[in-house]
């Protein structure tokens, strides 16, 4: 395997690992689509950051994206509080922010060097050529560094607040009773989601980011009942999708990000059908007629 391939696979694996991690909590909190929404509305943050600073510096972009990610979460929360159902609130918010982003982007196309299609559908194939230069030395692909950094941040934050995140996801009422501020932890998670998606935007595109946010976590959810195992499995599933997806893309001569997302779907389908504990086939077996069931114990 040459360095080019390796860089791509490692970058994609880092995306998968970083997204899978934080995605598990989104799935457990039934907020999978909020992740999708945030990944779209950060576009506005990136565009605004470009317009203000005038260059593609990483730091302003991250700040812009994180701000917009948080804004999305806040607006959705506020709308929900005002009686709009959760999914409608998400739909109204992210489409409005994304539309504004697109309008600004096309209006100032001359000043913002940002290819919309590239941002959304990503071209991980270019990642290895965009290297980080320091004092004339090449330190490897830029995306590798940003993704690695974000992955590390996710790992540290989730590690620090593991037990809090767990309680908040499982039983918000109990979390409040324990004195945890639900909103603070909610917004910490949303910041992580924004950071992760914006880093992924730059390198692999939003599609892969959202796919990795949701699909590996859901696959892991069908395989285990232990949160820690679920986090680990989601990373494994993500990395397998990345490797097999790359092979598929080479074979079909197509988008690498798209192929990786497709492969994560294939793996999900296999697990959905065959998982020994929560798979469809195992379930269908369980849903049998009365004679297949154990007679209940005597009531008392």
């Amino acid at each position: 395997m040459d360095a080019y391939t390796l860089t791509i696979i490692v970058t994609a694996s880092l995306v998968a690992a970083a997204c899978g991690f934080i995605g598990c909590f989104l799935i457990l909190r039934r907020m999978a689509l909020l992740g999708d929404a945030i990944s779209h509305s950060v576009l506005l943050g990136i565009v605004v950051a470009f317009l203000i600073t005038g260059d593609r510096g990483i730091l302003p972009m991250f700040i812009g994206a994180a701000a917009l990610g948080l804004l999305t979460a806040v607006v959705v929360q506020t709308l929900e509080h005002g009686g709009v159902t959760a999914d409608a609130a998400i739909g109204v918010t992210f489409t409005a922010l994304f539309a504004l982003g697109v309008v600004l982007l096309t209006l100032y196309a001359g000043r913002v060097h940002l290819d919309l299609e590239h941002v959304l559908y990503g071209e991980i194939a270019y990642v290895p050529w965009d290297t980080l230069m320091l004092g004339g030395y090449s330190l490897g692909a830029k995306a590798l560094w940003t993704m690695g950094g974000v992955f590390l941040i996710n790992l540290i934050v989730v590690g620090l607040f593991f037990k809090e995140f767990k309680v908040c996801a499982f039983d918000p009422g109990m979390a409040t009773a324990l004195g945890l501020n639900l909103l603070v932890f909610h917004y910490i998670q949303m910041t992580l989601v924004s950071l992760t998606t914006v880093a992924a935007f730059e390198s692999v595109g939003a599609v892969l980011a959202v796919a990795m946010l949701i699909v590996p976590g859901a696959t892991a959810y069908l395989l285990t009942d232990n949160l820690k195992v679920m986090l680990g499995l989601s990373m494994v599933v993500g990395i397998i999708s990345a490797v097999t997806g790359y092979a598929l893309a080479v074979w079909l001569d197509s988008s690498i990000a798209g192929a990786m997302a497709s492969m994560s779907g294939v793996i999900f389908l296999i697990v959905l059908l065959l998982s020994p504990t929560h798979g469809v086939i195992a379930r269908l077996r369980a849903r049998s007629r009365k004679d297949g069931l154990a007679e209940p114990d005597v009531v008392q």
């Binding site: 849903r287 009365k290 004679d291 069931l293 154990a294 007679e295 209940p296 005597v298 009531v299 008392q300």
Partner: protein, 287 residues
């Protein structure tokens, strides 16, 4: 295992003593033929969630014209029994007959009052409109309600004392008023057999007496009403027939025969100590 024999023998005796051979084909037939077929007949009925049975091997017949209380502890499968009879959850075994025929063929003769929490009360619709939905089953696909249907809906709203609130958005009604709207919807169905899931839960005194009046009215018209009920204190006051349930059928039959300390003990097990009051009142009533 001793219980299994109980479940089989208990139901038969009381129904014998009162309705004379309704459940025994061999007994001499009654003169009125419609009294022959039970309003509700449930045979070997079980419902399971995944591998866990929720109700198991339920067998009973209810003659028409009774107010039936379905009673049992939490998690006994009372609501599940109702949903199973109405085909809302798939059974693992058994069958149900309403007036001698399958539920599918008798749908228009069956009215249903679900638990209040089962719908979105913020839905953009008003009380009258909800009641009018009771007519939809008779209309079938695509056809719109006509003047006659609207008249029936008005009549039902008036009967539950909610005519003044007809145009209120349903979230602006109090809990008791919402329950009455649901009852009116069932009335508008013009059914012969009614199933009600906890209609007395969390309602005010006015609604409670309105429901009771309505139940009496329905019975006087010869209709059968099956009510899931959790308040043991009021069972013997409200219902003339009970079905005692705790995953299995414990007993069923006329209230005065079946609703005894003995059967309650079997239904509630050790937990009956909490319900000492009821046991006491029941014991006093039964000699």
């Amino acid at each position: 295992m001793s219980l299994t024999t109980n479940t089989e023998s208990t139901p038969e005796q009381p129904s014998d003593s009162r309705t004379g051979g309704n459940s025994h084909p061999a007994s001499p037939p009654l003169s009125e033929t419609h009294r022959e077929t039970p309003a509700i007949e449930v045979h070997d009925f079980s419902v399971a969630y995944r591998k866990r049975p929720v109700i198991w091997g339920i067998d009973f017949k209810i003659p028409p014209g009774h107010l039936v209380g379905v009673v049992g502890p939490n998690g006994a499968g009372k609501s599940t029994l109702l949903k199973g009879i109405l085909g809302l959850v798939p059974p693992a075994s058994g069958w149900v007959k309403i007036h001698g025929q399958s539920y599918k063929r008798q749908r228009k003769r069956v009215g249903y009052v679900p638990q209040r929490e089962s719908v979105d009360w913020d839905f953009p619709t008003n009380a009258f409109d909800v009641v009018l939905m009771g007519r939809y089953g008779h209309l079938g696909l695509i056809r719109r309600p006509r003047a006659a249907d609207k008249e029936i809906a008005w009549e039902a709203l008036r009967k539950v004392g909610m005519a003044d609130y007809a145009t209120r958005q349903i979230s602006q009604l109090s809990g008791g008023q919402q329950q009455r709207v649901f009852l009116a919807r069932a009335l508008a169905q013009n059914a012969d057999v009614y199933f009600m899931d906890e209609p007395f839960a969390g309602v005010d005194a006015a609604t409670e007496s309105a429901i009771l009046e309505l139940l009496a009215d329905l019975r006087s018209q010869g209709k059968t009403v099956v009510v899931v009920h959790h308040d043991l204190q009021t069972v013997s006051q409200y219902f003339d027939w009970v079905v005692l349930l705790n995953m299995r059928l414990i007993a069923h039959g006329p209230t005065e025969d079946v609703f005894t300390v003995d059967t309650l003990q079997k239904t509630y097990g050790g937990r009956l100590t909490i319900l000492a009051d009821t046991a006491h009142s029941v014991a006093q009533r039964t000699p």
